[in-house]
Symmetry: C2
Subunit: 300 residues, 2 copies
């Protein structure tokens, strides 16, 4: 069998983003960790880590990490039957990539019971869809919530439903920029808010009005910051309905056009052989998403 | 004088994180942008960009960007007096590094009027203190809100006041883990929530109870996700008071020990020769922070 002490050292260096922290977590000296990595590299005959800040796995390193992740999940199943097998016996940590808006809305309520019952700790990584799936493929995460349907090799995807995004702004902003109604002209002139370079929701909304060129926008890579900017009257932007129920009810945020919204489908990606724990989480997400998200029929 | 067409190409490639997007923004072909960068490199006699994804400035590239940023701010002052000088005349975009919790709370209300009056668009970059200042030093941002007081060379720092963090959890979580009171023992066993590897607030809180070793925690790199996890009963964690007024008033979140809180001082870093616009923003932040943040006397 593989020498899992060496593989655990590799996993710790990547997860802790450095040799020093990895050594702390493993209860070893830094030079011992470094030795284990070197020994692992001698065995596989090539580097497993790029020595950068933070250290990054090489292609072969990624494959090893992927394997470690899956072995850990399988170990956990066994531990239910044979307790005391793992000397370290820390609570299980599930690393999951998730889009920022899911984390800001439905995720906590959906997983609270599961985490408490299973004594699971979560390590959440906020990523947009393509990067989330890349991390999945690299074995860096056990699961991923994103808008892409197609699973990576060895994984399954489950349709959770859709997040409904509405174009919102403050009443003062609407009075200033849309007094004469929401038109293509007015939309181009009123500053928008965009989450980041990969956020195309505002572009899609504008395209619905025939606007495809440049428009003025603030950039704000924070779900809560985004809502605060809209509420403060700095711009208009597409916000998950789920996130702003109170703001909509109290009138602090207003829908530009209630009949125009954008539904973004969400999928849960998880390893096919991820063990009991991932299966239970999958079941729990299936149930919770049914209540929290909009259930839509996918297009043809 | 320098050839600012070349410098603008460098700035666009770095700001847009690629040659293709830079070309779009500049209205040039990709090869024209690439040519300008090469010409710039021929003039300075060394590379200004590392051709990675995304392209990163070299040491000398950073100094050039720093210069471009300051020239742009000075240009803006002049434009008030000599309109029409800039052919492109896009609204000014201020790039600012800010800690996630400020963006999730007081920032929007503090800057809304300024942005509307000055027709400024903001590009916000969420960074923890050290990285924010590094970006400042590199000339990638015009200002920075962070917990470090010491300004980088050429910049000033202004004390804004402090964010007050309270250790909060849901009533159900408190009943489950702290029924017998908040003790070192109970704190180590109850899962915490930690924002990321640089978030030491939970560690500091625990140190106040004499706990310095390992403890169980979820990792959640999102301000709003953090609050949702606490509210959902997944863990306890230190949350800015400002962010959860409603949750505290309604009892959805409860203070573990109201007399124990942590005040984190915040500073506004800005270029000393940043022009009128930065000076006005600085004034506006000074006024707004007085109302939103806790005004504390710095220690000796």
């Amino acid at each position: 069998m593989f020498d899992y002490k060496l593989l655990a050292a590799l996993a710790a260096v990547v997860e802790q983003a450095g040799f020093e922290r990895a050594a702390q977590v493993l209860g070893l000296s830094q030079s011992a960790v470094s030795q284990r990595i070197k020994l692992l590299e001698a065995r596989v005959g090539q580097p497993v880590l790029v020595r950068a800040t933070p250290p990054a796995p090489t292609e072969i390193g990624r494959r090893l990490l992927n394997h470690v992740q899956q072995v850990r999940l399988l170990e956990r199943d066994l531990q239910g039957q044979v307790p005391g097998l793992d000397e370290q016996a820390l609570p299980e940590r599930l690393r999951i990539a998730i889009n920022a808006d899911s984390l800001a809305t439905w995720w906590a309520a959906a997983t609270a019971e599961f985490c408490a019952a299973q004594q699971v700790l979560m390590e959440l990584v906020v990523e947009d869809q393509e990067v989330g799936l890349k991390r999945m493929r690299a074995g860096e995460v056990a699961g991923c919530v994103c808008a892409a349907e197609r699973p990576v090799a060895g994984a399954r995807s489950l349709a959770l439903g859709a997040m409904r995004y509405r174009a919102l702004a403050s009443p003062a902003f609407i009075a200033r920029h849309f007094a004469a109604g929401v038109s293509a002209d007015a939309l181009v002139r009123a500053p928008a808010i965009v989450y980041g370079p990969d956020d195309q929701l505002q572009h899609r909304y504008l395209a619905g009005f025939g606007v495809t060129g440049a428009f003025a926008y603030h950039l704000c890579p924070s779900s809560e910051g985004f809502v605060r900017l809209a509420e403060g009257g700095l711009g208009w932007g597409l916000v998950p309905e789920l996130q702003v129920r109170e703001e909509l009810a109290s009138g602090r945020l207003v829908d530009l056009l209630p009949e125009r919204f954008i539904d973004v489908p969400l999928y849960w990606h998880h390893w096919r052989n991820g063990g009991e724990l991932l299966s239970e989480l999958t079941e729990c997400l299936r149930r919770a998403a049914g209540g929290a998200l909009v259930q839509v029929q996918p297009g043809p």
